[in-house]
Symmetry: C2
Subunit: 423 residues, 2 copies
């Protein structure tokens, strides 16, 4: 690779709102999305909420001349909704399905059925290894009383760990997707702090688009306005995040978002806004030293975020165990009731009533059994994530106490001088 090596990467990200039968003007929006992607010829287009594999196949055919490589990440009952179109050959891909992803009995929310996941693509571009990740975390349906908060924090941690462990030999890491997390939400801070990823919106000097970089806007005619009641200017929940792992540095030259319309001012492409980033990858100068931000303040910030996440997961474990115990009692009660009903039915007398009550009793028993199994599994999953967090927290505290080495670098196992941000 030449010393003056420079690589420009044009990235597109969009949550496509592609729910069959439910999302308005889906076919038309997919067509316009295809036209736009073909016209713009990005290096990489990462899409979420392409729930129908037919839509993916349609786009694949349409985009084939411009984006010869494509992949749909298949998982769950409905599908992960994640897919990718690339101008460059994809060397490798794999996926990791999140252990926790809502509750199967919350059918109207549907997240459990999607098998939400993170997809990884490895690309070799001019001798540089790019690990690109695309993801979609559990939706937030009620910010005041968010029953999925713990699961989203656990997903953010799993995502961060997956990136951390799979990107150790990558030169550049890119994460795009709908995180369903506001920039200051615990999950988002945890993800950024633990992976060291930079937020394109915060880093770029050339931003054009929606106010505050929001990706769900009240101006967008497809947005459910009730969802934005508390945020009259919109919310920012879709991201382009990136970092250089070693020997390189990445900067975000430009970032554009759509603003509630199609890029050519027609009806929007989705209920979310599209993100379009131009990243520039260059060799890290030899005199480059680790960023001064790896100081005591950052160390303490990492410890504080890890602690916050640990507390959230710990609460989640306790709650899951409570539900499992409660379901256990209901199972016991159901079994007693069934035995009683069987005795009554055998003894005559209230036979018809006993037979009639048999159905709800069996239903109660099976329902409680399912709840028990599900919440026990939830408790185990959360315990696993909590144990990982606790271990990292312990090491971060040790590093803080020693005060000699930069803990993010130490903890992230980055033995070489990291490439960091430079505009």
């Amino acid at each position: 690779m030449k010393p003056n090596f420079s690589l420009r990467l044009r990235i597109f990200n969009l949550n496509c709102w592609g729910i069959p039968y439910l999302s308005k003007h889906r076919a038309d929006r997919m067509k316009r999305l295809g036209d736009f992607l073909n016209m713009e010829s990005f290096d990489l287009a990462l899409l979420e909420e392409v729930w129908s594999e037919q839509d993916f196949q349609y786009l694949r055919q349409k985009l084939l001349p411009t984006y010869p490589a494509a992949h749909y990440f298949s998982s769950g009952v409905i599908g992960s909704g994640l897919c990718v179109f690339s101008k460059h050959p994809i060397q490798e891909f794999t996926q990791h399905v999140y252990t926790l992803n809502g509750y199967p009995y919350m059918i109207h929310h549907g997240d459990w059925f999607c098998g939400k996941a993170v997809g990884l693509l490895v690309l070799h571009l001019s001798g540089l290894v790019l690990n690109a990740y695309v993801t979609h975390l559990h939706a937030e349906y009620n910010r005041q009383k968010d029953i999925y908060l713990t699961h989203r924090v656990a997903q953010a941690w799993e995502l961060a760990q997956f990136i951390h462990h799979t990107s150790k030999k990558a030169d550049v890491v890119l994460l795009c997707g709908d995180l369903n997390l506001h920039p200051k939400d615990l999950g988002c801070r945890l993800l950024k702090e633990w992976t060291g990823l930079h937020d394109a919106y915060l880093e770029t000097r050339d931003f054009k688009g929606s106010e505050e970089g929001c990706t769900m806007l009240p101006e967008n005619c497809y947005v459910n306005q009730r969802e934005l009641e508390l945020f009259p200017f919109g919310i920012r929940i879709d991201y382009v995040l990136y970092k250089a792992v070693s020997g390189f540095y990445v900067s975000c030259k430009t970032l554009r978002t759509t603003t509630g319309h199609d890029p050519h001012s027609g009806t929007p492409l989705s209920d979310h806004e599209a993100l379009m980033a131009t990243l520039c990858v260059r060799h890290s100068p030899p005199q480059h030293t680790p960023s001064p931000t790896h100081g005591p303040a950052e160390r303490s910030q990492l410890v504080s975020i890890l602690k916050e996440a640990w507390i959230e997961l710990d609460l989640g474990v306790a709650q899951a165990r409570w539900w499992a115990t409660f379901a256990g009692y209901v199972i016991g009660l159901g079994l007693l009731l069934l035995a009683l009903l069987c005795a009554l039915a055998a003894g005559g007398g209230v036979r018809e009533v006993a037979i009639l009550l048999w159905t709800p009793s069996v239903g109660l028993l099976l329902g409680a059994g399912a709840v028990y199994v599900f919440h026990t599994q939830e408790a185990k999953g959360l315990s696993g994530a909590r144990a990982e967090l606790q271990h990292v927290l312990g090491r971060a505290r040790e590093a803080q106490d020693l005060g000699t080495e930069s803990p993010p670098a130490l903890l992230l196992g980055q033995q070489e001088g990291d490439g960091t941000e430079e505009q």
Copy 2:
């Protein structure tokens, strides 16, 4: 690191058969296992089937002075059963739960409830990065009619991919566990071929233990003899596998197994035999060139195994889809029946019969719904694995056609000269 650097690693692996209430002499065996591990002072003890977290806590307390670091991988309803005790500090750990792991309605087999997984530990030993993996794949209950074959192949692929993507910066990779795969089974060949891992039993020149290295022996009093009907000398399904990723080479100096007894000739520690390996890690000599086994024969072997696995997964996808479609028809039928029963109950006449039939109809509907959801999920999961395999197969074929580069090295992304086996 000094040029004459040499590291000796003593590894212990055992499937502990620790099922509460069901496994014989569990408490006594755990006690003796703890005594033995303390006495032998291995570098790393990797255990499977420690289903009770109480047993883990007991061992943790007992082993604390010799193995200060320990971790239990928590997942599923029962737990993954995987745990590890280490003489050296564990730098990092994480886990990946297999997407497919049997069927929830096969309660008597129980695998689905275990949340089987692969656990990863990162250790830094004298400046060397060791990635140690421990796993336990789905059990085989009937070799002639193995309904879990596809799931086990999918798990072997997921395991291979997890190791492949998380070990790129490791110096040495170690995988221990109960794979529930015979050495020539498709899953085992796929795993070894795709990861490049070496089998300690086949590589060592100093082996002492059971005939053919078997890890389930008819001599073991806890073994269900019916399981070994076809294999009078036993089966080999537990493994110690290893490789050097770059700049190092690893050799297996000695491998020992127990032989149906406790190491001191008492009753066995488990129904499986323990594996005890001594590995030696050294710097790869500068003149070291990639192994000549990366020739056309090996290329063609990789392609053939990938193809075989692809066919197996493809069959699995078709079967899962058939079950989902069948369940879909049953749902339709159940809905029709329910409507009919409601009409009959409202109209009088056979009211009592209608009410009585209502229960099995609702049951049928719910059961079919669960089967539909489960097998659709299975089909998606298998499709995901099949897509990954197909991509790798395509690239392996390209490499085979080009014939210029060693495909395992090319495909595994090992840009540097790999460390290979040397006795």
